[in-house]
């Protein structure tokens, strides 16, 4: 009798011991707390990364799914997201979000997502908020309401649009071709009232779009709209957009985010295609993608603090855009304002818009004041990448017009190296003439160019660490000449294809 009890007890504790030991070796499961209840989300480890089971997450938030062999769509109260097996990109509407690892399909109905899915992607389709309590534990909360009133204030030289809100919560102000978007997060927006614009030639309307983020306002641009400046104020929380008319009729504007003044003729985003089209519904028209380097907290070259690379790059990019648009080309900028973008976002924008040419605009910096002139860079893949590449059209690179085959994210550029080198040589030759110097095209492992599926170069338009280049780059007429030269080279390159 007692022997039996002893054996039972022994077995019980040995099992407990085994469970404790093995559980300490496997990835920590996720706990989602909703009110007094806790829901466990199963985890797994792959390539050293923690993954969570999508089915468990969907069950907690009551999300429905629709699965095919390689894709799963997840339907939330505020949108739908699409996940593809073994791909790190997630699509929500017309936006793409890059995860730290690829989505993992372990079997039918058994999908796993990387840990950053929770904070990066999930809030985009939910009406609820996720708050991290500790490692592996999140609290799910319903969001509060944010009452927003939109008013206009008229000034002699500009018009101010004031968004007065009961809580702070503006997460982004973004400029598109036809409107400026004010996006709210944190709390669901409840618009109190929206006044009528007093000057419809400057602002046509302010519309509320409840399904975008936690509520989004779109400020329609009128014929006289030129640029805007945003200010975020507190007590009470409010966002003020100072909208300036086109120079000539009123006073010129201070620009919208760049640290260097914009030219009088510059106009932000211009493109042949509408910016809010559904990528799944309409074929995209290939455009030239110009990427102004750095931005936001990333200043770029900042040896002399009064001139920052990020501002100069944006000014030059806009001037190049203006020249190309004038010659009838469709152009996209990766950023219009002083915001920081990851290298992946920049190259993803190039691929998303099916760039026919991708040019990343930078200004140089070197550990020597003697280094000067423009330098054009092309991608130089690491030797191993040539061996594993199987889908890139043409070994070692071609002109690469074939978008049909899938390639690894970091190998997108390999099939386009010949085109990129040709574009780089053309550009370097012309820029050498402009600077009166003999620099060569440089091949380097540049992260921003690696995934771009188009002829792509990164151009450093002079060195801010060289006093002569610094002086030249500060002059508006030189900036115009630079932009003209680069735009002309792009045009010449496209004509010769």
């Amino acid at each position: 009798m007692f022997r039996l009890r002893f054996e039972i007890l022994l077995n019980f504790w040995l099992t407990l011991l085994f469970v404790a030991w093995t559980s300490s070796l496997i990835a920590q499961d996720l706990t989602l707390r909703v009110g007094q209840e806790s829901h466990r989300v199963e985890s797994a480890t792959r390539d050293g990364k923690t993954y969570f089971r999508l089915r468990d997450i969907a069950a907690v938030f009551e999300l429905s799914t629709n699965e095919t062999s390689s894709q799963i769509d997840v339907f939330g109260p505020r949108g739908t997201l699409a996940l593809m097996d073994d791909r790190p990109l997630v699509r929500i509407g017309d936006q793409y979000i890059l995860l730290t690892g690829p989505v993992w399909r372990r079997g039918k109905g058994n999908w796993y997502v990387p840990a950053d899915f929770l904070e990066k992607v999930l809030p985009g389709i939910l009406n609820t908020r996720l708050t991290k309590e500790s490692d592996g534990t999140y609290r799910v909360q319903g969001v509060g309401r944010n009452r927003v009133r939109v008013e206009f204030l008229k000034y002699p030289d500009h018009l101010s649009v004031v968004f007065r809100s009961s809580r702070a919560g503006v997460t982004a102000v973004q400029e598109f071709r036809d409107y400026v978007e004010v996006r709210y997060g944190e709390y669901l927006v409840n618009p109190d009232s929206i006044a009528d614009p007093p000057d419809r030639e400057l602002i046509t309307s302010v519309k509320f779009v409840p399904e975008e983020a936690f509520g989004t306002f779109r400020v329609g641009k009128g014929e006289k709209f030129y640029s805007f400046r945003e200010s975020r104020l507190s007590d009470p929380p409010r966002l003020v957009l100072d909208v300036f008319p086109r120079p000539g009729t009123e006073r010129s504007s201070p620009g919208s985010g760049a640290t260097v003044d914009l030219p009088a003729t510059s106009r932000p985003s211009t493109s042949r295609e509408p910016p809010d089209e559904d990528p799944g519904q309409q074929p995209r028209i290939p455009v030239i993608v110009i990427d102004p380097g750095h931005g936001g907290e990333d200043y770029g070259v900042d040896v002399y603090q009064d001139v920052l690379e990020k501002g100069l790059a944006l000014v030059l990019a806009r001037k190049i855009e203006q020249r190309l648009v004038a010659s009838g080309e469709g152009v996209r900028l990766t950023r219009f304002r002083d915001v920081d973008l990851a290298a992946e976002q920049r190259s993803a924008a190039g691929n998303f818009h099916r760039a026919k040419v991708f040019v990343s605009v930078h200004v140089g910096g070197a550990p020597s004041a003697q280094t000067s002139g423009a330098v054009v860079y092309v991608y130089d893949p690491p030797p191993a990448e040539f061996k594993v590449s199987r889908a890139a059209p043409g070994e070692g690179g071609g002109e690469g017009d074939d978008h049909a085959e899938l390639v690894r994210w970091n190998e997108g550029q390999i099939g386009y190296l010949n085109g990129s080198r040709r574009l780089a040589n053309l550009m370097q030759t012309e820029l050498n003439k402009l600077f009166g110097i003999q620099n060569s095209v440089v091949e380097a492992r540049l992260a921003v160019l690696a995934p771009v599926m188009a002829p792509a170069v990164l151009v450093e338009t002079g060195f801010l660490t060289n006093s002569e280049d610094l002086e030249l780059l500060g002059r508006d007429e030189f900036q115009e000449t630079l932009a003209y030269t680069i735009a002309r080279v792009i045009g010449k390159f496209l004509e010769s294809r």
Binding site: F6, S24, G300, G373, V375, N410
Partner: protein
């Protein structure tokens, strides 16, 4: 009495089982924590350590950024000769070479003192955290964050850091076939925003 003895034995075993499981749990947790902590091993570059291991002097060629150069060809780097301790240990030689590179002797270029310091390839406050040599000939060079922060922008600057270390190690230490960079003990996508360091450099 006999029953009491069995109960006592069972209790002892239970306590032992709890003790073992607790010990395994704690040791595994500590192991995981230890992995996350910074590796702060000694570099063995103190003069007394080197002198102790030294069998003589070794002349090495440092490849440093050539002022004015923009291309990545031969002219991008110029050589400077230095003398380090000969120890017969390729790792110690490699560490001494990187330390010499970091202690850059910047020539005057007509700039003020502050500007000259800011235009150093490696900032004075930067340091080598660790350098390992793997069996396949990969030298793993772990740089401090200050070195990355000292790169004040530009592809040329990043290439100057990468190529001067890579070339100096490859040309002076025959065992080094390639160089892989870490920053603060971690792998990064780029060194300072432009050049990818996800793969080793040859």
């Amino acid at each position: 009495m006999k029953e009491g003895k069995w109960i006592a034995v069972a209790l002892v075993l239970v306590v032992v089982a709890i003790g073992i499981s607790y010990y395994l749990f704690i040791s595994e947790r500590d192991r995981q924590l230890a992995i996350r902590e910074e590796v702060t091993e000694e570099l063995d570059l103190e003069p007394e350590v080197l002198e102790d291991k030294s069998t003589g002097e070794l002349k090495v060629k440092l490849y440093v950024y050539s002022p004015g150069a923009t291309d990545s060809g031969k002219k991008f780097l110029r050589t400077e000769e230095r003398t380090v301790y000969e120890t017969g240990d390729p790792i110690l030689t490699a560490r001494q070479i990187v330390r010499e590179l970091l202690a850059e002797r910047k020539d005057v270029e007509g700039l003020s003192g502050e500007q000259r310091v800011r235009l150093r390839t490696f900032p004075p406050q930067g340091h080598l955290r660790q350098l390992y040599l793997l069996d396949d000939g990969t030298a793993v060079v772990d740089l401090s964050q200050e070195i990355v922060q000292g790169i004040l922008g530009g592809v040329t600057w990043e290439l100057a850091v990468i190529e001067s270390i890579t070339r100096s190690l490859r040309e002076n230490v025959p065992q080094v076939k390639r160089v892989f960079f870490l920053v603060e003990g971690k792998q990064r996508r780029t060194l300072a925003g432009h050049v990818s360091i996800e793969e080793p450099f040859m």
